[in-house]
Symmetry: C6
Subunit: 267 residues, 6 copies
Amino acid sequence: MKDMLDEFRVTDAPFWRQTSDEVELFTAAWDARIPVMLKGPTGCGKTRFVEHMAWRLGRPLVTVACNEDMTASDLVGRYLLDADGTRWQDGPLTFAARHGAICYLDEVVEARQDTTVAIHPLTDDRRVLPLEKKGELLQAHPDFLIVISYNPGYQSLMKDLKQSTKQRFAAMNFTWPEGETEAEILAHEAGIDSETAGKLVEIGARSRNLKGHGLDEGVSTRMLIHAGRLIKGGIAPRAACSMALVNSITDDPDMRDALDAAVATWF
Amino acid sequence: MKDMLDEFRVTDAPFWRQTSDEVELFTAAWDARIPVMLKGPTGCGKTRFVEHMAWRLGRPLVTVACNEDMTASDLVGRYLLDADGTRWQDGPLTFAARHGAICYLDEVVEARQDTTVAIHPLTDDRRVLPLEKKGELLQAHPDFLIVISYNPGYQSLMKDLKQSTKQRFAAMNFTWPEGETEAEILAHEAGIDSETAGKLVEIGARSRNLKGHGLDEGVSTRMLIHAGRLIKGGIAPRAACSMALVNSITDDPDMRDALDAAVATWF
Amino acid sequence: MKDMLDEFRVTDAPFWRQTSDEVELFTAAWDARIPVMLKGPTGCGKTRFVEHMAWRLGRPLVTVACNEDMTASDLVGRYLLDADGTRWQDGPLTFAARHGAICYLDEVVEARQDTTVAIHPLTDDRRVLPLEKKGELLQAHPDFLIVISYNPGYQSLMKDLKQSTKQRFAAMNFTWPEGETEAEILAHEAGIDSETAGKLVEIGARSRNLKGHGLDEGVSTRMLIHAGRLIKGGIAPRAACSMALVNSITDDPDMRDALDAAVATWF
Amino acid sequence: MKDMLDEFRVTDAPFWRQTSDEVELFTAAWDARIPVMLKGPTGCGKTRFVEHMAWRLGRPLVTVACNEDMTASDLVGRYLLDADGTRWQDGPLTFAARHGAICYLDEVVEARQDTTVAIHPLTDDRRVLPLEKKGELLQAHPDFLIVISYNPGYQSLMKDLKQSTKQRFAAMNFTWPEGETEAEILAHEAGIDSETAGKLVEIGARSRNLKGHGLDEGVSTRMLIHAGRLIKGGIAPRAACSMALVNSITDDPDMRDALDAAVATWF
Amino acid sequence: MKDMLDEFRVTDAPFWRQTSDEVELFTAAWDARIPVMLKGPTGCGKTRFVEHMAWRLGRPLVTVACNEDMTASDLVGRYLLDADGTRWQDGPLTFAARHGAICYLDEVVEARQDTTVAIHPLTDDRRVLPLEKKGELLQAHPDFLIVISYNPGYQSLMKDLKQSTKQRFAAMNFTWPEGETEAEILAHEAGIDSETAGKLVEIGARSRNLKGHGLDEGVSTRMLIHAGRLIKGGIAPRAACSMALVNSITDDPDMRDALDAAVATWF
Amino acid sequence: MKDMLDEFRVTDAPFWRQTSDEVELFTAAWDARIPVMLKGPTGCGKTRFVEHMAWRLGRPLVTVACNEDMTASDLVGRYLLDADGTRWQDGPLTFAARHGAICYLDEVVEARQDTTVAIHPLTDDRRVLPLEKKGELLQAHPDFLIVISYNPGYQSLMKDLKQSTKQRFAAMNFTWPEGETEAEILAHEAGIDSETAGKLVEIGARSRNLKGHGLDEGVSTRMLIHAGRLIKGGIAPRAACSMALVNSITDDPDMRDALDAAVATWF
């Protein structure tokens, strides 16, 4: 089991450019074992940040991409049928609680309510997890912490966290990195020169202004990295931007023209 | 089995500051074995109170966080496949009824109807639990009691307890602790001085006035404790309040400004 | 199996105060083996009556609290996996039909249609139960009888018994016991003096007039017994009524005031 | 297996008073092996008729009460887990097709579509039943016949037989037996004198005129038999009619008064 | 397995009266292994035609009556539990693809989308079937062909084939056989003289004019054969037509009168 | 396992006529291991293109036809019951990730959200796949790549990819091949002369202009190949076009006339 825990250790420092006091805040929450909620748009670096913090705090990281068909059993565990009858297998949440990992529930708002309610007892003062099917009351490891991510832009009447869930977390707001920081990230991740990186950042900023005016979301840092890598791979910048930024973000011909025009301004 | 019962004993006295006659009322209901319903907003101390009473009455406490995907079998029990065929495993409700624990169904209104109907025979005079799948008619232990919690603010047409369920319970209303009591709780739980605690209580009270005017719920005692702990951990009070109170309770920029202003009044 | 049947015998005479010819009617239906439907509001004594009749007729009683997630298999039976392969286990309906018990389906309108349709062949002249999964055509025991309960106030377009189900039953209407009878029941069940019992009955009657004017249901006899027991346990009458009658029946502040005022008139 | 077939034989001649050419028509359909659909209101004798014909033709009768949760597997069969692995078990339809019984699907419109579609190949010229899970193409026994019942009054947009199903059946219309015939049936089934029987028939006829004017269905012959049996058992005629006819057919006070008045005209 | 394939061979030539070039078109599609879609109203002979073609081409025919509860696993196959663990069992589609049968999906529009999507790879140029659960990529037998039937009159917004499914098939339109052809079929199938057959054909034609004016579908050839067989069996023509044509196609009294009048014109 | 990988190798070069820089773009994305989304109407060659690229890059290709009933387990894998207990079996996505194949999710928008979310971690920088049920964190093979296809014309409010999914892919737009290219494809695939091929291309173009004016989609290249093959097989061109193009694309008589007229212009 120890070995399996190692699989979840973050061995290489994930690149992180601090923009505010986010590292201090997360560390203080960690010290007080207060569950943390990371809020912000898709692709702005929430996942990267929690990986960075897991590496910095030296804790294994168990990541779960939530979805609407995930059940509480997927999270908590279940009995498997074995040659010797049934055998209990911890789900990722139980595994993390038992061995003291950080458990990161990505896009938790996508999960069904039974999944989110299952974490309530672990965020109470007693920090327990009742494994009802197993008849065990698991006391969480002292180093266990729950972190969830949440994109406020997606929340709707049907899909929102319950107040009784939200109130269990301290929350940190994330947004796109500012111009220079994002250029630095692009240059580092795509291996391009800082001039090209700067142009891509400008295109990204332009697209983010179109959010709510025909685009559901602006271009993410991740997409800018894709464009950078295609350019690095020898593709002409306009074609690279079409493929990595424009075509993947919209099917609307008008929006596509608007974005292509923005690309043409810089390349 | 005895050992497992011990897992559910509340060994350390949970901190409770009595505000009215709630201890006497609960004790009288317990003496007459009348099922109890705790009503009140999220995070006001219902769970803490039942833990306190379980400790005070010396009874083990089996807590079940209800959710809409929980089935009656999750509560009552099921057959598991074993090396020697199937083996019955009591669910938490059956376990509590058999061994004389207090069974606390937290946020029972979230559960599916089959879950709530399953408790009816245990709240009748005969106090039995028909384990239909096992063919057993379980007579509840004399010390067994059902307690449920219920947040009237959440009830809707789709999700409300049936009258035939409600009428089986005596009900106690809970609300936020009054100023001084809450400050005392904050100081005790977060380890902060009473002046800081008092300021946090004021911020909490201010937020609760915003309920129904842009906030679904006011800031809970639990959230104030989080803020206190972050302050205790060295975070500046304003940043601590942002993280623990403001960001986690609302995504609305206007409400955030209003709450930040309330924080700035005191820190 | 004989032993298990004994579990379902009603050994102590359940207290019943006859108000009309209900005992004779039920006995005649029993003699002619005509299935019986008990109609009336929640908590008015339908369950108590069927227990009383089972005791009076000397038949075991198998009670099933119906709910919308109960399947026909829960009622009829299923195969369980055993060390020697699968083993058939009778459900409560089959158990009752095979051994000649009264099978009482409480709140049958809550059940899914497959559950209600499963009882059709047992209410035909041939009184058989096809156990399709087992390939058995069970001929009901001569002493078997089906009794169902039904609250007309709850019926809606979505949840009503099918005509083809209703027509298989002779129906008896129940309502709250009249003043003196109810006082007698309260005194007997809660162990209080008849003056206190009389006051509680008055409060109950007052609340029942509010049905349809802000209350979904009036206070049931069961709730009055709860209040009586709390008073007997030393709680002040007003607090006992608040806990047992007012708080559990409504969340509406105005209705609460109205009911509290009714309580204050008598205590 | 032979023995089990005997369980499904109708040994005692079910009482049937022919009202038209129904016996000849059914016999001709049987001779030509044309599937038959019996149409008519609930409780008018469709089930009784098919039992009578099964007895007259000397064929075993397998009756299936259809419901909306019945699956095609419930009808066709499934694998059961056994000590030696899985074992196939014929469902009632397959059992009847294999051994040459009449298979009667009662209230087929309640079944899910997969159930009704499963019978299509058996009503084609080739009269086969593909047991897809077993990999067997079962050729129906020469004496096999499918009979279904269907209440046109219930059909709705959501629940109606598909045209491609209906067209596979020859259909016979049933309705309430005419006055004298019904009186004869009542006298025979309830053991009452013909005068009382006649009065009950009049009450039934009166109620059937109320269909569509406050009643969903009129009183069925079955209900009149219930009333007759209660009278035979010593219950006063008015009380017997209240219990067997009025209370079970309606919850509406006005309709109840109207029906009680009809009863009072004759008793 | 060879033996089981034989079960699916069409040994007796199904009667087919060619009305146009349908045999040549199907044969050409078969030669080019282009999947075929048969379109037309219920009971007009689509199933009969595919049986005829299977016999003519000497290929086994695997017919699947589609329904909305059929899963892709029902079509493709599944693991069964055996004494020696799990054993894979081909579904009808896989069986046909592996052994070179014609697989006929009757009323494919009734099936769930996963069922129709499962056939896509078999209708691509590569003619493969990925058995994902088995980890096998099955290359279809050279003689395998998919044929589907489809009734355009039933298609609705909810139930229609996806464009990406339709485009994989060449389609043939079917309708009722013309007068003389249908009479010939009736005489052959019901064993009646050609005069009676001619009259039935006239009645059928009259009913088909009522389609859309009170009838969902006209009387099918199959129903006319039923009527013919009842007449052949000694039933008076009017009674036979009532039973086989009128009662089974409509519950509406006016339509019934109109159809009865049409019958009376000829008999 | 190596052998099974070979099953998925594309051994014969799939015919592909390059129309733009699509091969270079895909190759660059492959070099940078950026997931690719192929956008375009049904039957325009997306599947053919990915087969061509897999062959060109020498990578095995695992194709999954997505559908709304496919679960994440169908993609990721599951435990199978074996003689020696349970045995894990990789799903197609896991198989491809483990052994370095291209995994092509065809019509991914049809899949349930849990299926699409399951691919998120594989499209992150860490390129891992958490096999939660197995307790394994699979590091993708360096040669693994995800490709998805997507038809923008089908997307609706209910069925669209989430922004957080879209942003993980670089996207390429596909449309029908231009006239001469398509004629070349037809001649090659159907074995017809270039004049006939040219006429079919004209008919295709005409039909595509009707998209949105009565047709949901225009005639695809695949359908033109069908028509060509039927002509090659000796069917008269008009009959071949009726069967392969007209009847399969529309049930509307007016549209059928319009298309038949288009056919008559050229043949």
